[in-house]
Structures are given as C-alpha cells and as structure tokens.
Symmetry: D2
Subunit: 260 residues, 4 copies
C-alpha cells in the first residue's frame, strides 16, 4: 500500500525569480514530489494556479498526506479551500507544513494562534538538532545536521505547545527555533518543519529529504477517514447505554438537533 501524497506549491517565485527557477526548474513542489516517490509513497503535485488550487473535494478524499509550501501568496488561497483541507485533516488526512507555511491560512486555522516569529534572509548557517531520538521523523538521521545557507527564523514562535519537539535549530546569527513540531488536530497528524527558503537548495539536501519521507510516513493515518467529523449527535434517554429515566426541564424535543 502506497501513501498517496500531494505536494502543494504556491508556485509564484519559481515563475518570477530566476534564482528560484534555477534551483527548482520544475518548481519546488515537483522537486519535493520527486524526492518522495518510492516503494511506499506515491506523490503528485497541486498548485495555487489550478482550479480550486488543485485541491477539489474528490482529490482530497484520495489524499493520505498533504504537504504545503506557500510564501508570497498566502492571501490568495481561497477560504473555502482552506476549510475543506481543515475538514480533511480533522477526518484523518496528514498535513505537513513547510517553512514559510507557518503563515499559511491552513496552519493558522489549525493552530488557533498567530504563528509568528522573527526572521532574517542572510544565507547563514543553520544546524538542526534532534531532541527526540525515538521519533520516527528523525529515523536514520544523525544527532545533528547542517544547512550551510538558510533563512533564519527565531523564537518566540507563536504556536501552541506541541505534542513533541523533534528538532531545534541553531543559527549562526545567534537565534534558536523549534524547527520540527508535531500536533494532532482531530484524527489528523500535523507536522511543521522549518527549513526551505526558496532561494537556497534546501530540498536537494539528503537529510532534509529524509525528514520529508519520514514525515509522510508518520503523518499517514491508515484508518478510514472519519465520517461526520463535525457532527454532535443527540443520544436520547431511551437509547442510553445504562438504564435512564429522563427527568427535569428540557429545552430540546426528542431527536432535535443541538444549537451551533
């Protein structure tokens, strides 16, 4: 069974910046998808410019893990698509947010926080340290690895306390950052991974590629998508699991929907 993965790319700077186009000639999304392809992962791509940003309902229903890279055009992503993705995450689809996707609508939607940070584009050295040796996302990695040129992101990072901190980055200019964080939202596994500024060849780095493949496997929830993920069913007194006689005043009639 392969993990059906969709790599979503904003695909803006690849079209407007020669620097980015030179590093990722077919787009960042295509480069990431190429990296993932393998015995247990099948990866396709989707971009902002496609109808429904390439993420119609029937495609998401066939997606096990969605990877999201966006930067310049967060505001152009339709709210309807964001909500659709959120619902699929709640129902069990894995979601991996890369780098500047910290400000993607879908990440802020799922975190409930500003998701802000400090930043510097100076091509400085980043060193990622593994803080949770047993984590499947760190499988096969050394205790640390370096990216010779990266954008700096610095703490405090405006996210909720994670389930687990998997990586912490050291930056040459003096900052640190929680670079790999796991969350669960409903039945969906969510992973944020920091590296990946578009002017550097980060997604060609073998260690980064290992993280991406590991993250897809970790985020994959093989259970069937949860049905009725927003429902709040009424359990009438005569269907209670224990003998129960209804008593006291009531607002709702039998079988009535609750308020929302």
């Amino acid at each position: 069974m392969t993990i059906r993965t969709v790599v979503w790319g904003e695909n803006v700077h690849e079209q407007t910046s020669q620097i980015v186009a030179d590093i990722y000639p077919r787009g960042m999304h295509a480069a990431i998808a190429d990296t993932l392809q393998g015995d247990d992962i099948s990866a396709t791509t989707a971009t902002l410019q496609e109808p429904e940003h390439g993420l119609p309902e029937d495609r998401l229903a066939q997606t096990d893990v969605l990877i999201w890279w966006g930067h310049a055009a967060h505001g152009d992503v339709a709210d309807e698509v964001v909500e659709r993705v959120a619902t699929h995450v709640h129902a069990g689809m894995g979601l991996i947010l890369l780098h500047s996707a910290h400000f993607a609508k879908i990440f802020k939607r799922l975190m409930g926080t500003p998701c802000n940070l400090t930043w510097r584009e100076a091509g400085e050295r980043e060193r990622l340290w593994v803080t949770t040796r047993n984590h499947p996302i760190a499988a096969g990695l050394p205790d640390h690895f370096e990216l010779e040129q990266e954008e700096m992101y610095g703490e405090p990072f405006g996210v909720p306390e994670p389930l687990e901190t998997v990586f912490i980055s050291w930056f040459q200019g003096g900052e640190v950052f929680r670079s790999g964080l796991t969350y669960k939202r409903g039945a969906g596994n969510v992973f944020y991974f920091r590296p990946g500024h578009e002017t550097y060849p980060t997604y060609h780095d073998p260690n980064v590629q290992t993280v991406l493949r590991n993250a897809v496997r970790w985020a994959h929830n093989p259970a069937p998508r949860v049905i009725g993920v927003n429902e709040a069913p009424n359990v009438p007194a005569d269907q209670a699991l224990e003998p129960l006689e209804a008593r006291g005043p009531r607002l709702h009639r039998d079988g009535e929907e609750g308020f929302r």
Copy 2:
C-alpha cells in the same frame, strides 16, 4: 490588585424560557458574576445584545479574564468581535469557556478543531472526578463532587490534546467526558469547563462556584499584555546578535516587510 473579570452571557434563554428565568432571574451572566465577586476578583457582565456584544476594544484592554457562556446564538456573534477576543487572548487575556461554549466561535477559533461531542438532555446525575490533584483549579475541592441533574456530554470530544486534564465526568447514562481542560494560546491561558446547562441550577452549586473562582485566578496572567502580538519582525544581518555577513541570493530588501 483585583482580577478584572468580564462574564459574557448570550442572554437568550433567560428571555425566552420561564424555566431558565426562574433559575437565573437576572441572567446566567449576572449569577456567575455575583459568585466571583470578592477580595481578589471584580466581575462585570456583557451580553450579546449590547453594542459590539459589550466587548469593545477598550473594554477588552481592561479585562484580565473573560468568561464565555453561549448556546442558542453562536451564529449571531460577529466575526469581528471573535477576532478581537482572539487577539486579546494571544496577548495575555485569560479565557474561560463554559458548557455549550464548546461550540462558540471563539473556542473553535482557538482550538482549530470541530469541538464536537455527543449529548443528552435528560437531567441525569454527573459526577466530576479530579484527575490532577495539584492543579490550582481544583484547590479546595474533594476528589469528586456531584451535580444531581445535568445535561450529558460524551466522548470523543473533538479538541486537541490538552495541556492538562483537570476533571473527568461520569454520567448516569454510561458516558464519560473530559470536563476540565487547560490550554495556552499565545500568552493567554484558556480553560474549558463542562457543567452549566441552563435548565439546571448548576451555577448555584458551591463546588462549581469554587471551580469558577479558581479558574479565574489560574487564567489570570499578571504580565502586561503583549504588544504587536501578530508581528513578525525582520532582524537585519547588521543587527544580528552574533557577527554575521549576509551572503547568497535574497528576495527581500533591507527593512522590507515579510509576506503574509
């Protein structure tokens, strides 16, 4: 120093249901505020029907802890007010969500999940068990206490894994529910507390009142409100904390704002 608390009430069923009006003649919000008043807490109220639902910017700026009870009219709460409250929570305002506020826009906004559950309005017995003896929200409580008549809420509760589980409820009809959950969102402490269906005298119960007072004290963050809670400042290379020479290609000019 008193903790400036605002109790927000939807104030709908108090006006439309004689049952509710009889239990809470001046409204649930007023009953809760009366309970909180004391040496270290000063409590006022706000309702849906007031301009800006009683929560204009200058009032939130003077609020240490906001308590929220809503049920029938979640959809009538203006998105602008929801966003304003979210920003204050991120900046340090405490927020306590009561009972049917699990479906309040502000709770779903901060959790990023469906926040759904199962329910039954049968006036059954609820018994709350303390699961974290050291938690300040449980101070002064026995290991368990009962509410003879309450609405049932059942698991699975569609929320993120909490920071701490403080209470778990047993229901006569056979369900369980995580009834007291703590979260942090930005600099704000968030507490969800389950009991409080409007057709029962729950907020007149001494143990429930103890929880409310404890929760206000716990949620209060005495630090000054965080300024610029959504900002993502650029730290130029020449202002880096360590000696740093910028190198490599760049998308941004010095001093430029980042993308959102």
Copy 3:
C-alpha cells in the same frame, strides 16, 4: 518483518487460584501471547519463576516490545532486572503495562510517581471510551466497548500527565479512570492499559485483543537500539562545530569524564 514481542507474566495466581487457572489454563502470559501471534507479530513468554525472570540481557536485546502483567509479586522482581528493562526502554524497546502492573517496579521507575489509584473488586461493568479517534492504538475499535465484569480502578491516578489519553473508563459504581495512556521514556514508547483483572476473562475479549495488537504495533520502534544510552559525552573546544577558543577557569581537564 515481525515484531518480536515478549509477554511477561508473574504467573502466581494461575498456580494458586483455581478461578484464575480455569480462565487461563496455560497462564495469562500464554493467553496474551496466543492473541498476539500473527503475520507481523511473533510472541513468546517469560515468567517470574525463570532464571533472571526470563529476561536476561541477550533476550531483551532481541525484544522489540515487552508486555508486563504482575500483581501479587511486584516485590519479588529483582531490582537488577528492573534496571535492565529500564535501560532497554530508554534505548528503544517498547513497553506495555497491563492492569495491576500500575504498581510494577518498572512502571514506577519510568513514571517517577506513586502510580496509585482507588480500587474495588466487585465484578462490575466497565465501559471504555475512545478519546483520541486518530490514535493507532484505537484502530478498528468502536467509540466505546464494554467489559461486563471487571475490577474498578478510580481516579485520581497518580501518574504524570500523559502524552496522549487514548481511553477513559466508566464504571458502574460511579468512578472514572484514564485507561489508556501513552508516554515516551528515552527512545522507548510506553503504554499503560487498564483492563485485565485475573479473575475475569478480559484477555479473551475481542476488543481488548485488538487493543493489545494495536499497542504492540504502536510501541514498536523500528530504529536500531540507541547505543550508550546513559552516556554524557564531553565535546572538547577544539572539536566544537563552530570555531571556539576555550576561555575562563575550568574544573575538568581535556578528555576527562564528567561527574555523576
């Protein structure tokens, strides 16, 4: 690749109580191992009475997941074996603690807390509710399932806040209990699962058996066992990752071991 699982059983009441012997003629450990055997799991057993309790170093080195059931003879387990198991957990071996193993030396060793609870042996009904729908340990289970006769365990349960709460139990007599809790200790995944009093046929229940199989798969860490799991290596200044000149006073000479 099969997950090499060892089911450790105290094997006392099976020898001294006809009731237990009738339910588990070959011992609880054998019954659990039989349940686990399958395409991806190979299960063997070990008991208190064997030399080194059946858990010598070379066997643990070949064990992916260890399951532990003990009750009457916690005090008879050698401290040396407990420490050996702890080291293997830290290095990546999965550990599943069943029922009365809440008081096993190895569980208290890994939790750092009293691990106490309230209890009642009255053959009452227990109903387990799934609280984390996405958790692999709950795969294939309905939202709740019942055990018609079980011992009661009640909150507060003296354990650290878990990574995730997977199950919560409802008891006929009025208590609740966090019945499925996940932890990580070093590189090892740890799961506590409540049901399994020896006088009831709990491990013959299909839902319980599903939990056990799921838990083995979840606890399995396929990464190689961590080497030197207690080491605290000195990184001399001349081997630092960044250029560094040692300065200031020192307690330690180059290459010296740290204090313990």
Copy 4:
C-alpha cells in the same frame, strides 16, 4: 504569606576550588538564598555535609519549595533522603533543579530517564531564548538574555517531553539546549533550569536571579500537602457511589489491602 524555600547545595567545590570560593565566598547555596529573600520568599540553606543532608522529615514538612544544586557528589546523597524528597514532591512540595543537578538522584528518580546530555567546559557564550511568553517563570524578562561565559550543555537531553518548554539556549560552539522545562510529578511542580556552572558568576546575573525568583513562585503549590500520597484505598461495593451489588469471583476479602 511567604514561600518557605530551602536552597540545597552540595558545597564541595566551594571548599576545594579557589576559583569557586572566590565567586561564591559563602557557597553557591548562600548566594542563591540571598537572591531569593524578599517580601514573598524566605530562603534558608541546607548542605550535603549536614546530618541527613540538612533535609530531615520535619524540615521538608515546613518547606514549600526546594532548590537543588549538585555536581561532584551526586553519589554521596543518601537514597533514603532522595526518597523522602520524592515523597514530599509527590505530596505538593515544589522542586527546582539547577544545572548539573540534571544528574542528581532526585531528578533521575522523578523523570524516569537517563537525563544525559553532551557538555563542554570552555567558557563560551550562552544565549537563552524565551519560547513561552506567557509563562510566569519568564515574567519580566526580555525575549532573550546572554551569559558571557558558561559551560555548554547540548541536545539530545535525555528527559521526558516536558509540560512546557520555557527557555532554549544557543551556544557559541554550535549547540542548542532546552534550558527551562516544567513538569508535574504528583502534586508537585518541578522546574529544571540549565545555567549555573560553578566556575562562572552565573547566579550573580540579574536575569538568572529573576528566573530563580519567578520559578520559586511558580513551583509553590499553596494547597495543603497531600496526605497518604502512596495509598491505594479499597472502596468496598457497599460504599460505592452508585448502587452496586458485588458479583463474580474475588481474590480479596472485604477491607483487605491490595498487593504492592
């Protein structure tokens, strides 16, 4: 009401190293206690060399928060005293572990893990970043502060996932470390704080002193010490909260103690 704080110091290097004696003429424990004294905190000291290491039962019973600094003589601390301290933490005493106390018996006892790390004594620059702006332990601090000379501690740090990560350190030599971590163990709040190598004047630093004072206030649990913190009481069927008739086979007679 003042928070009764005891600062425990190993008091070895102060006696054997002129460097340390020059920085802390009356001992590190006395310097830390001096820092804490104030309107809401009263601080005394205890050392390894005193009978029962200065921590007899009646003194711990009068201690709200215990601070622990040890390094060269972890092995000389009596197991009986360690267990006594652990019991008081479980019952509600706060505990703050400083620097090399990561290898103190009491920290390993409460964490259940190796608590190891990498290290280098080179007097390098450490910069601590606040990662949880709302945390009371960070009250009054800037987003980062520096210690010009400190020992390096590096990840991976062999501790359980914390409740909250409050500080992360950047080191000149290229490492990072989770320098401020909160835990709860039973009713006791536990805080680990990294800085404080004895050959540098770390505890004379104003920001470090602010952290220590904040940490004492955070760790203080004003609730009365929990009685019978290791008890596991039997709740007989005829005293159950809900009507319950005992059924099925039993191992225990009424009123019997459980196994341990």
